[in-house]
């Protein structure tokens, strides 16, 4: 398990190697020009207000691009977090007479904690439930703002909010906000390529696969929520300082929807998209100001647009543009050459890598797995077979922690893993693939394998991003796909996707590799290649436990076979003897 400090949401400047900063120099130059423009150009009050609103709102929408774009979790309370930050600055600088900076940081912390608390509800809830929790939170915050008059002054709001000494003039304050926007934008942009960012994307793409690749799914979601809330709070604090007045109606559920729409319109996955969406949705209403003479008409059109965007532009404006841009560029950077992959499976326990005793899994009255014993010897290939519905995949899911065992004990290389969560089992040295391939579909092959290599406790990978990439490249080259490392998953054939999934597991240098029907859906050439690959893996001393229906593959690759039928073990031993066992023959061909 990695220490929390490794997972800090925002990478401190300077951690990145120099070339990265140099490469991003244009960004900083551009940002500096924008800040300079904001500080020197003469705007009238109206334009200034619009710019200030767009800047602060963009920061709040960046929060959504973290939680929704990167991590795939819904948050319908961003206006509440925005409001927490705004009220912290509002009440703090007026009634409490505290410095602006203390209030800003305080507001961020309050939002962060509230966000982490909401994130905690994701432990047991997803989807609709989560949407509802965030709406409820939003409503409670609004109710408190309106009714706790002693604290918030109620519906009248808080006037005369102060700015910091340093940025008293509205011009300099705007420049300050633009600078904050540029910094936050940079961090959010790069978050995607940090360990935490990769974990979030993995959780979004495939939660199950994220778990079995060593990612603590629950913790990742909490970080995403906390970070989103933090950015909301920061944006709110800046907003309050800028407009000097806050009231409850600025932070209502409707505003949360506005934030969400900004994010969706621009493209939820990227900060640039967020900024575009925010800018448009602040400008359009200004252009359509004449519509405001009819109350509701503008928002009605707004609602219609939400439906239309969802239906016709699922990736938002930026997604649409970026897609075309990628196709226009069409050239994918060639990956670096890689050394040969080293597999050094840990050898702590004795001769037996995996010892399963009396394992049972019952679903209600159905005994899917019933008192099964399996002992996998170190080195070589062990197969687990049985007719359809015999309990093989259930066994594998109990082994990797996707199901909790009803009873029995699982010991991996001397460690009892029976009650561990999937990511803890991975840290303990378990690697697996899935029958229906579970790759992170929005990422490249290399990124997928990097997530595998990032497994906590992987001794085969050095410190830093370069070592990670190197390890991932070695694994991809090992399965023969090194030259296509930077391509998206969707451009690979089904058979190659299987190989990437195996590479992802290999990169983590597991002690035991579980393969769930690796030959399913492969044609005969691909099956031969798979067989060769298994031999090369086994040659490096990694133990494989394989489930498959392809008896040719199983009988040739495995030295040892365990056979299940009706959730019980009916045979176990050396391959050829097991396949001739009368019970096995009748289980497969049917009894007389």
């Amino acid at each position: 398990m990695s220490a929390p400090s490794d997972n800090m949401p925002i990478p401190a400047p300077g951690i990145h190697s120099k070339p990265l900063l140099v490469r991003h120099l244009p960004y900083f130059i551009g940002a500096a020009i924008l800040v300079w423009l904001a500080a020197t150009m003469r705007f009238d009050g109206y334009v200034h207000n619009i710019l200030l609103q767009a800047t602060t709102f963009s920061i709040a929408v960046f929060g959504l691009s973290v939680v929704l774009g990167l991590c795939g979790q819904i948050n319908l309370a961003q206006a509440a977090f925005f409001g927490l930050g705004a009220y912290a600055v509002g009440i703090g600088t007026t009634d409490l007479q505290v410095s602006f900076w203390v209030c800003l940081v305080g507001g961020c912390l309050i939002s962060l904690l509230a966000g982490a608390f909401l994130g905690m509800s994701t432990l047991r809830l997803g989807g609709h439930y989560l949407a509802m929790v965030t709406i409820s939170f939003q409503q409670i915050v609004t109710l408190v703002m309106i009714n706790a008059i002693w604290l918030t002054r109620g519906p009248d709001g808080v006037p005369n909010i102060k700015r910091p000494e340093l940025f008293q003039s509205s011009q300099s304050y705007l420049a300050f906000c633009v600078a904050m926007l540029a910094i936050v934008g940079y961090l959010v942009w790069h978050l995607a390529d940090t360990k935490l960012g990769r974990a979030m994307r993995a959780v979004r793409d495939n939660e199950l696969a994220a778990g079995v690749n060593g990612i603590d799914v629950f913790r990742t979601k909490i970080y995403a929520f906390a970070l989103c809330a933090l950015l909301g709070g920061l944006a709110g604090g800046l907003f309050a300082g800028g407009f000097a007045y806050v009231s409850p109606d600025q932070f209502s559920f409707a505003e949360s929807i506005v934030f969400l729409t900004m994010s969706l319109l621009g493209g939820v996955a990227s900060p640039i998209g967020s900024a575009i969406g925010t800018g448009l949705l602040i400008l359009i209403p200004e252009w359509l100001r004449f519509l405001k003479s009819v109350p509701g008409l503008y928002l009605a059109i707004y609602g219609l647009f939400v439906i239309l965007i969802i239906r016709f532009m699922p990736d938002g404006i930026w997604g649409f543009v970026a897609d075309a841009f990628t196709r226009w560029r069409a050239k994918i950077k060639a990956p670096p050459a890689a050394a040969a992959l080293q597999l050094k499976p840990a050898t702590i326990g004795g001769d037996t890598v995996l010892e399963v005793t009396g394992l049972s899994k019952h679903f209600g009255g159905l005994k899917a797995v019933d008192g099964v014993d399996i002992a996998v010897k170190r080195g070589g290939v062990h197969a687990l077979i049985g007719p359809n519905g015999s309990g093989k995949t259930t066994t594998l899911n109990v082994l990797s922690g996707l199901y909790e065992a009803t009873s029995g004990r699982i010991v991996l290389d001397g460690t009892d893993i029976t009650h561990m969560a999937p990511h803890q089992r991975t840290a303990a040295g378990l690697g697996r693939t899935f029958q229906n391939i579970r790759l992170f579909r929005s990422m490249t092959a290399l990124e997928n394998v990097e997530i595998g290599a990032e497994r906590p406790g992987n001794t085969m990978v050095g410190k830093g991003d370069d070592a990670l990439t190197e390890r991932a490249m070695e694994a991809l080259t090992f399965v023969g796909l090194g030259s296509r490392a930077n391509e998206l998953i969707s451009s690979f054939s089904y058979g190659h996707q299987r190989l990437i999934e195996i590479a992802r597991a290999l990169a983590s240098n597991p002690t035991l590799l579980l393969l769930d029907e690796p030959a399913a859906g492969l044609n005969s050439t691909e099956k031969l290649e798979l067989h060769e690959l298994l031999k090369r893996i086994a040659a490096q001393g990694l133990t494989i436990l394989i489930i498959d229906h392809d008896m040719t593959l199983v009988s040739e690759a495995a030295q040892h076979i365990t056979v299940l039928n009706f959730g019980r073990r009916i045979a176990d031993g050396e391959s050829m003897a097991v396949l001739r066992h009368p019970d096995v023959v009748s289980a497969y061909l049917g009894s007389e």
Binding site: N388, A520, N523, D550, T552, S555, Y588, G590, S591
Partner: protein
């Protein structure tokens, strides 16, 4: 003219080519069994016939008319009833209700459907006492009986049965196959079966599928003697007679 004729059928699921050109036929009044290992494409063949899977190319003729590409609702109305793998008995409905819904493909008054459902219990006496039990409370064998009974309520001219023996104890498997041999008196059956011995015991004709292709077809006796069957199930390389 065969009741069902499949010509060069190809079905893809995204990248996977599940069927790579299957050609076979089912004559009126026969029981035809499709054999093959897991993943060979047996279930996909049935899914393509009943409209759950869209054929990529090739044709499916029922009674001489092409049904390839039609939706499942239209196909069951033409008289093809599919009892899918895993029984798929509605867990929140009772046994009787499940069976009654089998007649959804034809217009008949509810009272008549109810009478027909009651009559079904004569063919399946083992589930009569569960008439009002909810689907999820039943055991595998009972669920299989309900699923077949529900399939027969459509009064099909062709019944597609997918792995009726799956996960059932041998005694129950025999009971299920006893019913299949009774059904065949007035219904044509296309049976998919992993249990080769059982599958061929009731069949007039059999086909062996391997990785999306028919590799063998013939009378049960001829098939049973062929090494390809053993190879398809237990591995080893057999000579493939295309």
């Amino acid at each position: 003219m065969p009741l069902l004729e499949i010509r060069n059928l190809v079905v893809r699921y995204g990248e996977i080519e599940a069927l790579r050109g299957v050609t076979c036929a089912v004559e009126q009044g026969q029981v035809v069994t499709l054999l093959g290992a897991n993943g060979a494409g047996k279930s996909t063949t049935l899914r393509a016939i009943s409209g759950l899977a869209k054929p990529t190319s090739g044709d499916i003729l029922f009674d001489g008319k092409s049904i390839a590409g039609l939706g499942p609702e239209a196909i069951v109305r033409m008289g093809i009833s599919h009892v899918p793998e895993g029984r798929r008995v509605f867990p929140g409905l009772t046994v009787k209700e499940n069976i009654m819904l089998g007649a959804s493909n034809r217009r008949a008054p509810t009272s008549e459907i109810s009478r027909e459902a009651d009559a079904m219990f004569d063919l399946f006496p083992d589930i009569r006492k569960f008439t009002n039990a909810l689907g999820w409370t039943l055991s595998g064998g009972q669920l299989q009986m309900v699923a077949v009974a529900r399939g027969l309520m459509a009064k099909p001219r062709l019944l597609l049965l997918d792995e009726p023996s799956l996960g059932l104890a041998p005694v129950i498997v025999q009971a299920v196959f006893k019913i299949i041999s009774e059904i065949r008196r007035n219904t044509t059956v296309l049976l998919v079966e992993q249990n080769a011995r059982m599958g061929l015991s009731v069949a007039d004709y059999g086909y062996v599928l391997e990785t999306g292709r028919i590799v063998l077809g013939g009378k049960p006796d001829a098939l049973w003697g062929n090494e390809a069957i053993r190879a398809a199930y237990l591995g080893g390389h057999a000579k493939v007679s295309a």
